[in-house]
């Protein structure tokens, strides 16, 4: 495992023995007296100067969070306080959420980072107080008369360090907002503070490098057009080797009916590539007239973790490309925050998309009226509709070698409300599916611990702690139902859950939903299948390929 994470036994020992607020220990210290400590494994490397220069971002320099002097720009206090004021004017949510909290504590033990660290500043209410305390400083008169009454404090460099630490220990998953009686959403506050921090050059390379890549090459991984095509073609070849079916994807093709956009992790990363193979098989199976763009080659949007403007800028490519290619509508692959952006922001930011048509499935004729304005359909909705209308030839027995559970991705769950479609698909493509405990799924789902751009290697200890509640829930179905396969519909999950499982639950593998669809699809003219898309032997099909011997 990574050098940035303690041994499992050490962490477990800490959980068992070290007193913490989570376990009811009150140290009699107020949260504002507890110092911030950057150490190996609990922070992400800052944005490289060349990346910042490329994006035109403030204060490019070489620095580390462990430095004493962060080389903040001259007048940084004013930049922050002006930035906060202007955002308070633009977002009712920010103002309301800063004003209306009563600190009832309902959110306190809902955050995966709090459950994995026991650090009081990871209670969502206190995380928001980190900003609120500075915001309240606008009323210094009250403070002077009643010292300490409203818990306000000055904006100092120590506060900036604290913000950097704790607003990068929030994955914008919105779980706290489910439980808040006023719907206060810490994600809103985290997004704003990260915007503010970017104004003075306090940042995270694991977010900014993909942003810069995506701006230049069209995708987070920085894959240039020829390599992008090569990667998908080699996946298509793998599909052909395994199934004997030529899936023939096309690229940048004008006049296709549908533009398909998925996170670039599905094109490049393991195990995302198997999900991509699943998509390719599905589209071939139904004869979809689609194309993939090398320009709008990213579904995800790390701009969301940077600033509103950057989110809009990166997202704009989707409609721009759809218009250029003259497609009728857009189909989106499995991704979490991508769908938060598409569902709740895209049409507002970059619409109206009146050059597209209301999506209609060419196979079933279903009109996706729920996407009538944005004109973008989620692949799980699309596939569920196909299965419901009996348009897919599926053999769920081909997934009998897997015992699955389903991980709701935070953004798709709490920023979109898609719970049934993926479950419907999953139940139809595999025979063994067990839900995790009910307090850990659906709207109460736990984040993988690495969302919102925290998936950096050097942040591994935080990630393993933040992912602990999710891993713990998987462990329960692993122990009870021998579950060995964690199915997700999120590219970040597919990147971050494998190390999490390796750390907490060795033996559990991570799958994309459409990888399982790809396994189960009975293709026309296929060769006898003995292995799944990962070339693992399928149970009951071992002798399926005798002709090879």
């Amino acid at each position: 495992m990574s050098k940035y994470v303690p041994k499992l036994s050490e962490l477990k020992k800490e959980f068992d023995e070290k007193p913490s607020v989570l376990k009811g220990d009150y140290s009699a210290r107020e949260w504002w007296d507890i110092p911030v400590e950057f150490r190996d494994g609990n922070w992400c490397f800052p944005g490289k100067p060349e990346v910042l220069a490329d994006l035109g971002f403030a204060n490019p320099r070489k620095w580390m969070a462990t430095d004493d002097d962060w080389q903040l720009p001259a007048g940084w206090q004013k930049i922050i306080s002006d930035g906060l004021q202007s955002r308070l004017k633009k977002y009712r949510s920010l103002k309301l959420f800063l004003d209306s909290c009563v600190r009832c504590g309902a959110c306190a033990d809902k955050c995966h980072f709090f459950l994995g660290t026991g650090d009081p500043k990871n209670m969502p209410v206190v995380r928001a107080e980190l900003l609120r305390s500075v915001y309240r400083h606008d009323f210094p008169l009250v403070e002077k008369i009643l010292k300490g009454f409203s818990g306000s404090r000055k904006l100092t460099e120590a506060v900036i360090k604290e913000w950097h630490m704790y607003f990068h220990q929030c994955t914008e998953c919105r779980r706290c907002s489910v439980f808040c009686p006023f719907g206060i959403d810490t994600a809103e506050i985290t997004m704003m503070v990260r915007e503010l921090l970017n104004l003075i050059g306090v940042n995270n390379n694991w977010i900014l490098a993909p942003v810069s890549n995506c701006n230049r090459t069209g995708n987070h991984l920085g894959i240039e057009p020829h390599t992008f095509v090569q990667n998908i073609m080699s996946l298509a070849e793998d599909v052909e080797d395994l199934t004997g079916v030529n899936v023939e994807p096309t690229f940048n093709r004008k006049g296709a009916e549908v533009l398909f956009i998925t996170p670039s992790g599905d094109v490049f990363g393991d195990p995302g590539v198997y999900t991509m193979m699943g998509y390719l098989l599905l589209f071939k199976h139904i004869g979809l007239d689609y194309t993939i763009s090398t320009y709008a080659s990213e579904g995800g949007n790390f701009g969301m973790f940077t600033s509103n403007d950057m989110m809009k800028k990166l997202n704009a490519k989707m409609y721009h490309e759809a218009k250029r290619l003259g497609v009728k509508w857009i189909l989106g692959g499995e991704c979490g925050h991508m769908w938060r952006v598409v569902h709740q922001y895209m049409n507002t930011m970059n619409g109206p998309a009146d050059f597209l048509e209301v999506p209609v499935s060419p196979i079933t004729g279903t009109r996706f009226t729920n996407a009538a304005a944005t004109k973008m359909v989620h692949i799980a909705e699309f596939t569920a509709d196909l299965i419901y209308h009996n348009k897919l030839k599926l053999d769920p027995k081909r997934n009998d070698h897997l015992r699955t559970t389903f991980h709701d991705s935070c953004n798709v769950a709490r920023g979109m409300g898609m719970f049934e479609e993926p479950r419907y698909v999953l139940r139809n493509v595999c025979n063994s599916f067990h839900e995790m405990p009910e307090d850990t799924i659906r709207e109460k789902t736990f984040c993988c611990g690495s969302g919102s751009g925290l998936n950096a290697e050097e942040n591994m200890e935080n990630r393993m702690r933040g992912g602990f509640p999710r891993a713990n829930a998987v462990k329960q179905v692993k122990d009870r139902h021998k579950v060995d396969s964690l199915v997700t519909i999120c590219a970040i999950d597919r990147a971050s859950l494998p190390p999490l499982m390796k750390y907490w639950n060795p033996g559990v593998s991570v799958y994309g939903l459409h990888e399982l669809v790809g396994n189960a699809l009975v293709m026309q003219g296929e060769t006898k299948r003995t292995t799944d898309l990962r070339e693992n032997t399928m149970a009951g099909f071992e002798n399926g390929g005798d002709d090879e011997e």
Binding site: L96, V102, P181, A371, F419, E420
Partner: protein, 331 residues
């Protein structure tokens, strides 16, 4: 425990002021007329100001927190309350929050057990305590309407009868008096008893609890123990309601304590977390339908940004695209 003691001392001082003022300095006009009027004006103007201040800020994005299945395919049942699709469904969602604290009802308690196991249990105490507190306060306030009308309105009679169901004392004992005191006691103790709550609570969290507790205690004393003559009290309240600036008659000092603390609460209200009473209606994660893919939500300040267009992209990669046999716009 400075953050608990300080607010307690403040409330004690605030309670002592009118007592001394009326009893020894003859300031009954100040405490009986000037301050109540001022407080009423501050409460109303302040509340309106805060609401308008929130309302004039735009809601740039449609960001409901979806706690249930969205409306998508026709054969999938969607959750009308937790993922509202229409305006009235979202309105119902907000009203369920306002009247029944629906989100608090979901509350769970997480515990880290031996061998690194997380266990979640249902935890409805806060919901119950909060509901008891707010509802009994509302009923008590409504009951007080008997002081503001020359003829006691019908609904007040009804409330008093219902509230006085356990007819065990003279004057009739109101169950809400007991419920609200029990609820306040619970709400204070949970802040002291639980390590998380103790850590996250501020002085501004204890202050209104102590203040309201003091108001209730003084009210209870007046009604059941000191047995204040209420006729001059009612006369005075009627004068206030009729915008009369006449001096109050002979009323016991305890009444001025009660009235002054209520005035303090009214003045404190618009400038504090108590404004959650108005904010709950405005929360964009609760009061918007989850229909942003179906209807375009308008952001009034939608910033113009320059993005990298396809032609700029093709200009950079044309040769590589040609080699990969990708179609291009310009040769």
């Amino acid at each position: 425990m400075k953050k608990v003691v300080m607010p307690l001392v403040m409330v004690a001082i605030l309670a002592l002021l009118p007592f001394l003022g009326v009893q020894y300095a003859g300031l009954s006009y100040l405490f009986g007329v000037i301050i109540p009027y001022t407080a009423t004006v501050v409460l109303l103007a302040g509340f309106v100001f805060r609401m308008v201040d929130w309302l004039r800020r735009p809601v740039p994005f449609r960001i409901p927190t979806t706690c249930g299945q969205e409306k998508s395919l026709e054969w999938i049942r969607y959750d009308r309350l937790e993922s509202p699709h229409r305006f009235w469904e979202a309105a119902a969602r907000v009203l369920f929050e306002v009247f029944f604290f629906r989100s608090l009802f979901r509350n769970t308690k997480a515990e880290l057990h031996k061998d690194s196991n997380l266990v979640y249990g249902s935890h409805k105490w806060l919901w119950l305590g909060g509901l008891a507190f707010h509802w009994s306060l509302l009923i008590i306030v409504l009951r007080h309407s008997r002081f503001f009308f020359p003829m006691v309105p019908g609904f007040t009679d009804f409330l008093e009868h219902a509230d006085g169901f356990f007819d065990i004392t003279l004057p009739t004992f109101y169950s809400t008096d007991a419920v609200v005191l029990a609820a306040i006691t619970f709400l204070v103790f949970r802040r002291l008893n639980d390590a998380k709550m103790r850590l996250l609570s501020l002085q501004t969290d204890y202050f209104p609890l102590f203040l309201i507790a003091a108001i209730v205690v003084v009210g209870v004393l007046m009604r059941y123990v000191v047995r204040l003559n209420i006729m001059p009290v009612k006369d005075q309240m009627l004068r206030l309601v009729n915008f009369s600036f006449d001096a109050p008659g002979e009323i016991g000092a305890l009444f001025y304590v009660h009235l002054f603390l209520v005035s303090v609460l009214a003045i404190y209200f618009p400038f504090s977390k108590l404004m959650h009473a108005g904010a709950i209606f405005l929360s964009p994660t609760r009061n918007l339908p989850n229909d942003s893919r179906e209807k375009r939500h308008i952001n009034p300040w939608n910033a113009a940004i320059k993005f990298r267009t396809y032609s700029e992209y093709e200009d950079d990669y044309r040769e590589k695209m040609k080699k990969a046999k990708l179609p291009i716009e310009k040769q």
